[in-house]
Symmetry: C2
Subunit: 178 residues, 2 copies
DNA sequence: ATTGTAGGCCAACGCGTGTTGACATTCCAA
DNA sequence: TTGGAATGTCAACACGCGTTGGCCTACAAT
């Protein structure tokens, strides 16, 4: 059977995102990704050139932060982050890989520095401490993702979205504004 | 030259802890560890049997939580965790590896579940939600370590111990008790 | 019907890995 | 002095990896 070029490329990319998200960069082998896509490993190279380039394509990601009213920014941000994590494998790909891979860590820094900081700047009249505030927000959001989705602490896994929002909102709100 | 058996074993273990802490399980090769210890790779196998067993020895870790007065528990816990992280490579070994390795993740769960939960139980009159409280504490502490020591967000790296304690204490205090 | 081309497969390469067994060296005890 | 553990080295193994180049195979235009 034969598929169109763009179709195949999309299938490979989808398989790559899944594998990178589940296993991280090193354990997600080209051969495994190719098997998932029901295709020869050589095709992956044909379409993406290199494992690193494939990863770069799979790790494409945008937080897409919405506009947030100042008094609901904490709750809104936690909710958005939770949903984004579950809907888009990109964040998981980056976190699983960024821990042992400097290039992925740099992407993380760029994403959170470049996207959360403006949010803080728009909400607080405290431009001097905005970078630290943004990092604190990132630390709590990433810590939650780490313990819920990666390390799978049972109480964090069992918690509902609303519970997590209730607990974390005041924290995020304080880091953002107070 | 010749060393005593226990001496050599200790040198290997120290090198292993450094490498596992810096690179994670997969990238820390037996050959690299052996080179650091100025010894043949075969010696590592002789003394530890297997890379997995060597890792198990290198990942030996105890949080050693102190007694904490209820009204200073948040600040005390943040301070203790920061110092523990910098003094003992065990936590870094576990975090770097736990993200892509189920066995290390399980160790993390055991350590935080088994050591933070009793602390919460001793501080709060809320046994029902103690597991969730402990996990929330873990999420913020690990999130801090992640962004400061692993992903190296510049503002988190630049922050002093006291600054971090000031910002994080209210969060931890609330997760613990309020 | 022929041919050109895009999509796909296969076998192999060089490399680094964990691991192993045979061999060398040092040291202590008899 | 000699023998035998204890300590250490060396070369090789089997394996899985990313990557490559040559070879099919189907389809569309001529």
């Amino acid at each position: 059977m034969k598929r169109s070029s763009v179709e195949t490329k999309a299938v490979i990319l989808a398989a790559a995102r899944e594998r990178f998200a589940a296993d991280g960069y090193d354990k997600a082998t080209i051969r495994a990704i190719a098997a998932d896509a029901r295709i020869d490993p050589a095709m992956v190279m044909r379409y993406f050139g290199t494992k690193e380039k494939l990863f770069a394509a799979a790790a494409e990601f945008d937080l897409e932060l919405p506009e947030l009213a100042p008094d609901e920014a904490g709750a809104g941000l936690v909710r958005h982050f939770l949903r984004k994590w579950e809907a888009d494998e990109g964040l998981q790909v980056l976190l699983r890989t960024g821990v042992t891979n400097e290039a992925a860590a740099e992407r993380m820094r760029t994403i959170f520095g470049g996207q959360v900081m403006p949010l803080v700047l728009g909400l607080t009249g405290d431009p001097e401490r905005a970078p630290l505030r943004a990092s604190l927000v990132a630390s709590q959001l990433l810590g939650m993702a780490l313990s819920r989705y990666i390390l799978k602490f049972p109480p964090m896994v069992a918690a509902t979205e609303e519970e997590l929002i209730t607990w974390l909102s005041p924290t995020i709100q304080r880091y953002l504004i107070e």
